[in-house]
């Protein structure tokens, strides 16, 4: 057995705007936690430090996350489509590589959330007959995603098989 077999990274990067999208997501998440704390802190005078101190800490943590995490994620998230399979890499602390063979693909969906839409992005989801086998490519340029979905649908149509 060869000494070192590794998975190579998929060839393609996500769209660059995905970094901004992730920043917005982390920012919104931070705000959802911090804003209620701020309001409570302003309304309830006796317990003010108990609300404002965590709010301050969380704001700092959130800002750091907004600044540092998305670029890091961007370096790790990759995708690739060959004639044979869809291949993605994701996760940070828990890295996950997924491979779904073309012959087993059942559906190809593109989804755009409201936040994604403002950044001109789409998510392509490829499902197989296994509910554990879905492969998602989050954060592609909208047009690129539509093209990709079309291409995938065409390829999977051409390959015979019952997908199970």
């Amino acid at each position: 057995m060869s000494g070192a077999t590794r998975l190579r990274p998929p060839r393609n990067w996500l769209d660059h705007r995905v970094v901004a999208w992730w920043r917005a997501q982390v920012g919104v998440l931070t705000a959802v936690v911090v804003v209620p704390l701020l309001i409570l802190g302003l309304l309830i005078a006796p317990a003010r430090p108990w609300f404002l101190i965590p709010a301050a800490v969380l704001t700092v943590v959130g800002l750091l996350a907004v600044l540092l995490l998305p670029p890091w994620w961007f370096r790790i998230h990759r995708w690739e489509v060959t004639d044979q399979a869809v291949y993605t890499r994701g996760g940070v602390l828990w890295q996950v590589w997924r491979v779904a063979p073309m012959s087993r693909i059942q559906t190809v969906d593109t989804v755009r959330g409201p936040l994604q839409r403002t950044f001109g992005l789409s998510t392509v989801t490829v499902t197989t007959a296994s509910s554990a086998g879905a492969v998602k490519i989050e954060g592609l340029d909208h047009e690129r995603a539509a093209e990709l979905a079309e291409e995938l649908t065409r390829i999977t149509h051409d390959i015979p098989g019952d997908a199970t």
């Binding site: 077999t5 996950v96 491979v99 197989t128 199970t164």
Partner: protein, 545 residues
């Protein structure tokens, strides 16, 4: 299994109603069995009694039993009558038929449901009968396509038609007709049927070894308190316990209670297992179907199309394993999605040799072979988890002993239990490591893991429809990796956990040729640059537009 009615009719006997008067609505339409009214009446009566007796005692002890009965008897009669009338309405508006292409069911008066299944898509025809239905010779028939439209929305149930009830002969006729099987011969066996396994009462000895023993005993204790609560006697157990402690001492009381607790659990698991698995039989039918038949009071029959079988899983929970026994589950598409449900069980806990022979007969695998071991780092991980849990446990116990008002006796009991748990965790960690293994066995991928629930899955390599490779930070540092095969069958994913990060990728590439290969690099890695192999030209602009 007995068949009281004489199945004299031949196989070609299409919808000619068998003792069922045709209601209306044209040719071929059949109705459910009229005796459903009696069955419903009896069940509702039994349930009503369950409520009526405590009510009579409760009301009667306050006033007089005459008054209590005067209220309760008409109430029960009304409930029973009402349910029988409701069932009659249901009966009048339910009919079904089998056409050459479809199986159709119409039901409902106000909200009519018309459901039809294409016959070529029918995969399961399962028969079951509760005790009352058995007295009347009736069965409930569930007909399903086994398909889940996962893309159409999660949680969608498979398409199923339920005929509740028809006569047993009609049920068998439908099963034979819809699954395209030869009908039953007069003695209740089918020509060409091969029995793969048969119930052995000795297997009952494995039943109390499951965790259900404790769970059921716990439920029984909870039930006892609930009943006492109804009668306003919650303090009874506490008082009784105090009396017993005064009589025989604290330690003896504890031992006594533990023994009684376990005994209750043992009796309960024996009873449940007996009910569920009595008269168990696993058969292979000529048309390519596996059929599991079982049940003491409620009889069940589950059919599994062999074409859809993607493998087997040999499950050895700790207790059962210590007795040298194992259970066999089938890994199949089209069965209910819940892999924990009993529908997928091919063989209940039975001696390992029986389990191995069933697995061999069903899937052609050879259980018991040696598997590839996992690196020692996997053992170190498990030991670390166990020691971390030990530390938490020790901290909690010391806190309880020092800082809280736990009395001396209980502090000692707790400490003994905690010490035992600490040792057990470390032993389990070692056992969990020894359980790890993976290999290829002919056309199957074999993966074994788990200690409390050790499971060895034999998954058809053809049935693997994707890979998921995951590696946590800790796994990366230890050179380990988890390889998960996704499949349309069974639990939908089966993992080789904590294997050597290089070896397991080769293993995956070998298991399904061509799928993983294009994404592997086999050169000696230049570890710092491994991230940038094959980058597109714009990788310099990371993170900035």
């Amino acid at each position: 299994m007995s068949h009281p009615d004489d199945p004299a009719d031949g196989p070609g006997d299409l919808p000619a109603a068998r003792g069922n008067p045709s209601a209306d609505g044209g040719p071929g339409w059949l109705v459910l069995h009229r005796d459903t009214l009696k069955v419903t009446g009896i069940w509702v009566f039994v349930l009503a009694l369950g409520g009526a007796i405590p009510t009579t005692i409760g009301v009667g002890s306050g006033t007089s039993y005459g008054i209590a009965l005067a209220w309760v008897v008409p109430a029960v009669a009304l409930v029973v009558l009402g349910s029988v009338i409701a069932d009659d309405v249901r009966w009048r508006h339910s009919r079904y038929r089998v056409t050459p292409a479809r199986m159709e069911l119409h039901k409902g008066m106000i909200f009519t449901t018309k459901r039809s299944l294409a016959r070529e898509r029918i995969r399961t025809v399962d028969l079951s009968a509760d005790p009352v239905q058995r007295v009347f010779g009736l069965v409930k028939v569930s007909i399903g396509t086994g398909e889940q439209v996962e893309a159409g929305g999660p949680g969608q149930t498979p398409q199923t038609l339920v005929l509740d009830p028809v006569s047993r002969d009609e049920g068998e006729r439908l099963r034979a007709l819809l699954l395209d099987r030869a009908p039953l011969a007069a003695d209740g066996t089918e020509p060409g049927v091969r029995v793969l396994a048969r119930w052995d009462p000795g297997w009952l000895r494995f039943a109390p070894l499951s965790f259900w023993t404790f769970a059921l005993a716990g439920i029984a204790v909870g039930g006892l308190f609930q009943v006492l609560n109804w009668f306003g006697r919650e303090s009874l157990p506490v008082d009784t316990t105090r009396d017993i402690v005064e009589d025989i001492g604290a330690t003896q009381t504890l031992v006594l209670f533990a023994v009684v607790f376990v005994l209750v659990g043992v009796v309960a698991t024996l009873a449940l297992t007996l009910e569920a698995w009595w008269a168990y039989r696993l058969e292979r039918e000529p048309g390519g179907t596996l059929r599991v038949r079982r049940g003491l009071l409620t009889t069940r029959s589950v059919s599994i199309e062999e074409q859809r079988v993607r493998g087997v899983e040999i499950v050895e929970p700790l207790g059962v394993r210590s007795a040298g026994a194992a259970r066999v589950d089938v890994v199949t598409t089209g069965l209910r999605a819940d892999p924990k449900s009993e529908a997928s069980t091919l063989l209940p806990a039975a001696p390992m040799t029986v389990a191995a022979s069933v697995a061999a007969a069903v899937a052609g695998v050879r259980p018991g072979g040696r598997l590839r071991r996992h690196p020692a780092a996997a053992r170190a991980r498990r030991l670390r988890w166990a020691l971390a849990a030990d530390a938490v446990l020790a901290a909690v116990v010391s806190w309880l002993a020092v800082a809280s008002p736990v009395r001396d006796f209980w502090a000692i009991v707790l400490t003994v239990l905690a010490a035992a748990a600490c040792v057990a965790l470390v032993l389990l960690a070692g056992d969990a490591y020894r359980s790890l293994g993976h290999d290829l066995d002919g056309e199957f991928l074999v993966a074994r893991k788990g200690s409390v629930r050790r499971a060895t899955v034999y998954l058809q390599r053809q049935g693997i429809i994707g890979w998921r490779v995951s590696q946590s930070v800790f796994q990366r540092r230890a050179g380990l990796l988890t390889l998960t095969a996704t499949t349309a069958a069974g639990a939908r994913r089966y993992s080789v956990i904590d294997a050597d990060e290089h070896e397991v990728l080769e293993f995956g590439a070998e298991a399904v040729p061509g799928l993983l290969d294009p994404f592997l690099v086999r050169d000696p890695p230049r570890s710092t640059t491994a991230m940038i192999i094959g980058d597109p030209p714009h990788h310099g602009g990371v993170g900035r537009r």
